[in-house]
């Protein structure tokens, strides 16, 4: 199992048990020896209200991308409902640039199980599933082993730790669809249906898996909970900024000297993340652009990057904190090609349910591919922008927005590069409207 060398600026909460270079996932013995399941034991003595209050106090926000306050989400579950309540873990980590859930599952799977147990206690759930993306097949074995250990040590199953409470947990493999990271599509997939998103409302808190009240969170979100219960919500909240509690895992990739997953407090400066933690732009080149939170977030120009990494600051400049996938692009990057690559991904991953996303991503992919190959015409740049705007906010789920937002930001912030492609194209192939090459 691999993990990058830690950095002194890191604040280790989720990754506190990680050892570099570690070879094996942390087993239950070492987990228990390092205060493992202590948060859960403490939670067993708390009422559901107390647990949810503590999580609310921590200002923990969903780490999947939307950043919804976790405590509030849990409080929406109607605990008095006669239906069984379920816990679902979203381990369908598919956002390009993101690999944080993977290192948690890979290195400290018991941390996730402990977080799930506390969440299950908070809503009195009886059953849980960890929905792991199909491409992470090798991780299913790791998590399954940890679940087995937890069963053997009485942390899962019947009468958990003598409390009389029963909770079962198992893994469920996805089949390779980005869309199944969207919570309602994930639930459809979990139920054995086609991975299309569902109509909302009802939200999962009231009608989730198998039409029962369900808490559905990201791996990293659940994994933060044990330490919140152990050390108190206030302690966790103070690690970050006022509205953004705690630490989070930033997945630094692209043209930096030291790419990797780093645990840093919320609100950490993006430029410092690149230059100090990441060791600067590779080859001493100049920074051109950064995607701050996975490929669906609007791109930032180099001069916009001096800002704290929290939800509000990024929203203020029109981007998003997203899933923590920071993609660094240096001055040699071909922005048209980069955008084309991103759109290729979304066109491939669109589930096809709604018209604007299904047709829009496919059209944009062809158009951007044509531009990139030097076969663009002068109207193409505005057309790309307009098509993306026709998708934005009009699709059934957020996938359409995820494809539209980067397109708009790339075209608007790097319009010069798009125009340069046109010019070079005219120099090479002076036939406007030539046949496109990209065919699905």
């Amino acid at each position: 199992m691999l993990f990058n060398e830690p950095h002194p600026l890191e604040v280790k909460v989720l990754t506190r048990r990680f050892e570099y270079p570690n070879a094996e996932p942390i087993g239950i013995d070492r987990f228990l020896a390092t205060r493992g399941y202590e948060g859960f034991r403490k939670a067993l003595g708390m009422t559901p209200e107390q647990i949810i209050d503590e999580v609310k106090k921590s200002n923990l926000r969903g780490r999947g991308g939307a950043g919804f306050p976790t405590g509030m989400k849990w409080s929406f579950v109607p605990r008095q409902s006669p239906k069984p309540k379920y816990i679902v873990v979203n381990a369908d980590e598919s956002e390009p640039g993101t690999c944080k859930d993977r290192i948690i599952l890979e290195n400290d799977p018991h941390r996730l199980i402990e977080g799930v147990l506390i969440a299950a206690r908070a809503i009195n759930a009886s059953r849980g599933w960890i929905y792991i993306r199909g491409e992470y097949r090798y991780l299913i074995a790791v998590v399954d082993k940890a679940i087995e250990e937890a069963y053997q040590h009485g942390f899962l199953g019947e009468n958990i730790q003598g409390s009389g409470w029963t909770f079962h947990l198992s893994t469920h493999s996805g089949a390779g669809a980005y869309e199944c990271g969207e919570e309602s599509a994930l639930l459809n997939s979990l139920e054995g249906l086609r991975g299309n998103p569902r109509l909302k409302p009802p939200f999962p808190a009231t009608s989730g898996a198998f039409q029962c009240p369900t808490v559905l969170n990201n791996v990293e979100t659940y994994s933060a909970v044990p330490d919140i219960i152990l050390n108190g919500g206030e302690w966790y909240s103070n690690l970050g900024t006022p509205k953004n509690g705690g630490t989070r895992l930033f997945c630094l990739s692209g043209h930096v000297n030291r790419p990797g997953v780093y645990e840093l407090p919320m609100g950490f400066n993006l430029l410092r993340l690149i230059n100090e933690v990441g060791g600067g732009v590779r080859g001493g080149r100049k920074l051109k652009a950064v995607i701050p939170g996975g490929s669906s977030c609007p791109v930032l120009k180099a001069e916009e990057c001096d800002l704290p990494m929290d939800h509000e600051s990024l929203a203020k400049i029109g981007s998003m904190l997203g899933s923590g996938g920071v993609v660094v692009m240096d001055e040699t990057t071909d922005m048209v090609k980069a955008m084309f690559r991103i759109m290729k991904f979304y066109a491939h991953e669109s589930c096809g349910w709604c018209i604007p996303c299904r047709e829009g991503t496919a059209w944009l992919k062809k158009l951007l591919g044509r531009l990139d190959e030097g076969l663009g015409v002068s109207t193409d740049i505005d057309l790309a922008n307009e098509l993306a705007r026709n998708m934005l906010g009009k699709t059934f789920c957020a996938l359409g927005d995820a494809a539209a937002m980067p397109t708009i930001s790339f075209v608007e912030k790097f319009r010069g590069e798009f125009e340069a492609k046109l010019k070079s194209a005219q120099a090479q192939a002076p036939v406007p409207g030539a046949q496109p090459l990209a065919v699905l």
């Binding site: 669109s350 096809g352 299904r358 991503t361 496919a362």
Partner: protein, 692 residues
Amino acid sequence: MPDVTLTINGQAVTAAPGTLIIEAARRHGIEIPAFCYYEGYSLQAACRMCLVEIEKNPKLQPGCTMPVAEGMVVLTESPKVVETRKAMLEFLLSNHPLDCPVCDKGGECELQDMSFRYGAGESRFTELKVHGEEQQWSPVVYYDPARCILCYRCVRVCDEGLGVTALGTQNRGVISEIIPNAGDHLVCDECGMCIDICPVGALTSGTYRYKSRPWEMNHVGTICAHCSDGCKTTLAVRDGEILRGNNRDRSGINGEFLCIKGRYAFDFVRHPERLQSPLLRVNGELQPVSWSEALSAAAAKFNEVKARGGRFGVIGATRTTNEENYFLQKFARQGLGTANIDHRRSGDVVTLLDALSGRANALATVEDLYTAKAALVIGSDLAQQHPLFAFQLRANWRHHQLTAYVVTPGPVREDLYAARAIRSEAGKELEAAASLRDDLAKSQDLVILFGDAIKGDAVRRLVEFGDSLGIPVKYLCLVDYANSRGAMDMGLLPDLGPGYQPTQTRGLNWREMLADPALDVLWVVGEDPLEETALASANAFVVVQDLFLTETAKRADVVFPSASAYEKTGTVTNSAGQVQRLKQAAKVMGVKPDLDIMGLLAKEMGLNLGIWIPDKVFEEIRRTVRGYNVALPVIATGGAAQTGAADGRIPVTVPPELIRSAGDTLFTSGTLGRYSGMLRSVMEAPGTLYKP
């Protein structure tokens, strides 16, 4: 809950809480366009055509899923909405082949209409389109993935409407397409509802594809010639030839529902074996002759036998019109002076009417099947034999949470949603139904549908059982064919005249006629009794009116080629006693409606039986037949008029063993079905007709 008031495009609108914006707007004459939204089926919000602006809402919201709220301000034609609609159409058309000039749907395509109304004039899409090859899924269903806009209407109508679930989706993104769940072919009812409901030309019909443009045809709303459910089918006719059947205008008791028979099984009309000339037996061989020759031969024989007091036997049919059946019994009783008249009965309507005599509101209509709180089905595989009734009950379950109970010898499709399904041996159905007493009595009301398993005394015991429940109970006696019910009502019975008035003498029933060695004349109108029973009288003179040279026609001395239900006017009565009007759709050379044949025969014999124009005969029926004094405008405008119940006792003398259903499946329709290439082409009936 009180209605909420909202504003749509500045117009104050009130609607019940929970009403969707698209519906509230529609009811006030404001159209919000949509492809995937379809009344009665689950919500999708996939096509994004119905996005509307709602005040205080930053994003446009789909009108098809957003319920109305008090004080809501909705804009359906604001610049933002109009631009969005245009954008959605542009997206849709990007990969849609613009083969409208050869597409079956051209002229009645929702995508065309929407583009015309809301779309952009110019296309900006210059890339290569995604293309998929056309597929044949069954003899009647073809799919063109390139034309498909993925509104999932077909998937929903098959799954939710029919309970068949033959269709699904495969692949994702722009190459998603609809597929049969069985792989490369359909295992289904072949009802064609998916084709009908398709807004574009993605699903096309095997019988109609590439044959005509919709505007070249006349669309004639008539009643299906097959089973007794009485579906209205709108036949599209070009040059006297029927090219397709559907009911897109949702007129009639069936709305837009049709099964394979109503939609496709009209091809018997132009079957090559169709009789188109009268035949006369000359020197032992049937030979084509002129109408006058055939008529005078039959009339001469009839007059001769009548003069010497010989024995007639008259057998009528369950597909001929009320007017024809009425005229036939009048002809037999008044013209020939015989009481020997009968038809093949498939349900014990007579005993039911007698058991219910004097009671109003105890006979169920097709509408009742959709509104009843509970239904009990006894001894019938509805999905196979009465597809409309099955569809209605299922729709009732989906929309109003009908509680259904099933008592059948084997599994049926209604088991899928029935509260209880009981398997019972033949003859023990009533005992099984009695075990449901406590459950049934809890309901507010009940409809009981029963097939030929309940006949004779069992019908009376069933009504007693219904009475003992203490709730309002309605009954529906299931019979086989389009006018099986009407044949009884019109008095094609040896002991009962029109309206079940007892006759002075009891004649022979059809089995007794065939077994009578002294029978002089056997006159068969549209029926094929010799198919299963031999004629005992070797010297009987046999006159047959039929579409085809049936077993009976082969034995005949005179055969008259008659017009089918699709080639004439008149009325028919369905299982539920609802009268509807046939309209002439097709034209076939050389044939005459049975009523004309009988009228001409009467004229040739010198009898005066009155005018033989359908409307005139129906007037007489309204005047004289008990229960048939129905409102003419209802029938004249294509509606269904419920006939009244019998208000007095009926002496029932029919032996119950004469009542027997032919046991048709979804893909058979008695003799007529044998001449439908389409019914014969589909592989086998889906589901089970009482297989274990």
